[in-house]
């Protein structure tokens, strides 16, 4: 399969890489055959570049921090609860929210491929799809957390959720201290993507002031 060996180290420069040529050829063929609409591809790319990102999830988390009834509803049925928020895109049928507490820290992985809650977090980062994360998260989650600069108390339980089916998980991180009375918008700024995967914690007011 020598013709499938790619050099993906040089995407820049004027010379088109083999991958660029293959993708261009494929898009041309599928367009000429009438299977795809290049304008739809443009719209998909634009949506992921501008609309569908972790801000969606951050708003969900901020709402859960400020509205106990919503928090309850979210933990019971995240799909339905997120569906009640007009400003977040639909999440399909299979979203589950899991809550971090002082006793328990949750972490999400997909060891078999790269399943990820796109609708609330956008496209997965490269590290989430990488062999180091997929291999180690289920066996050495504390080691993985160390790679992210996060250290939990020894007695904190760690629960790793391997996304092996079509269920998608989002972590509800703990609300940082010193944020009493903050608006949802302001709280959402503390909610990082990684805190909703479980490889990070929500930012503290001091961290965001930096």
């Amino acid at each position: 399969m020598a013709d499938h060996d790619h050099d993906h180290s040089h995407e820049h420069g004027s010379e088109l890489s083999e991958t660029q040529l293959r993708v261009r050829a494929l898009e041309t063929i599928l367009t000429e055959k009438g299977y795809i609409d290049p304008a739809a591809l443009d719209a998909i790319v634009e949506a992921y570049e501008t609309k569908i990102g972790p801000r969606n999830g951050a708003l969900v988390v901020a709402k859960a921090w400020t509205d106990p009834a919503f928090r309850q509803a979210l933990l019971k049925d995240a799909t339905a609860a997120v569906g009640t928020l007009g400003h977040v895109s639909p999440v399909g049928d299979h979203l589950v929210a899991v809550e971090n507490t002082p006793q328990r820290h949750n972490m999400i992985v997909c060891t078999l491929c790269s399943c990820y809650p796109w609708e609330v977090l956008g496209l997965p980062p490269v590290w989430y799809k990488s062999a180091p994360y997929r291999s180690r998260a289920v066996k050495d989650p504390r080691g993985v957390l160390t790679d992210f600069g996060v250290k939990l108390a020894k007695e904190t339980e760690i629960r790793v959720w391997d996304s092996t089916a079509e269920t998608r998980f989002i972590v509800l991180p703990m609300r940082p201290a010193g944020t009493e009375g903050w608006s949802e918008e302001r709280l959402a700024d503390l909610v990082t993507r990684d805190s909703m995967i479980g490889t990070g914690l929500a930012l503290t007011p001091a961290e965001i002031a930096k």
Partner: protein, 218 residues
Amino acid sequence: MNGVHDMGGMDGFGKVEAEKDEPPFHAKWEGRVLGLVRSMGYAGAWHIDDSRYAQETLPPQTYLAVSYYQRWELAAEKNLLARGYVTEEELKAGHAIGPTKPLPRRLTKDVVDAGMTRSSFFRQQQGPARFKPGDRVRTVNINPLTHTRLPRYARDKVGTVELIHGCHAYPDSVATGRGDDPQWLYTVVFDGREIWGPDTDPTLTISIDAFEPYLEPA
């Protein structure tokens, strides 16, 4: 299949390296691949598990060497060829040559929003759920050559049913062309020591989402 994609618990891949301020795409072609794969999925050319299986059956050295979107592109080519939507001759030429094989629908710009909402995997239940939350279960020991969503590390292990997610399309069946064969889906949680042995961090629990055929009463 016991492929290199089934990575849970493998050692030696090194540190997790996060990129600061990572962009959604690192090159323009990545977005095109995402868009065309989404479009063909919407059109009904294949199911998501066909896409996964096509990636899993890439040569392991290729799977590990290429980037994520390159894997998508290679899997798309495989599925398009296997299903007769494009030919080798067309891929070489970079243009359509043969006839178009009809597809149920087409993702156009005006329906992109609908096309991007995730499909539902709920299916009509075929019978009552065999397990309920709290039940102790043992995962089966299977090593199929075909697609499965039961990772190697979680085979022949005892755990506890925690959640029931309803009845879902069964990937092991879908990816082998045998239809949805709907099955109950559960979150099953294991003690880390059951999976990795007695020296494991006692605070660790790991869950998988397991289709009913993966489980036996324990």
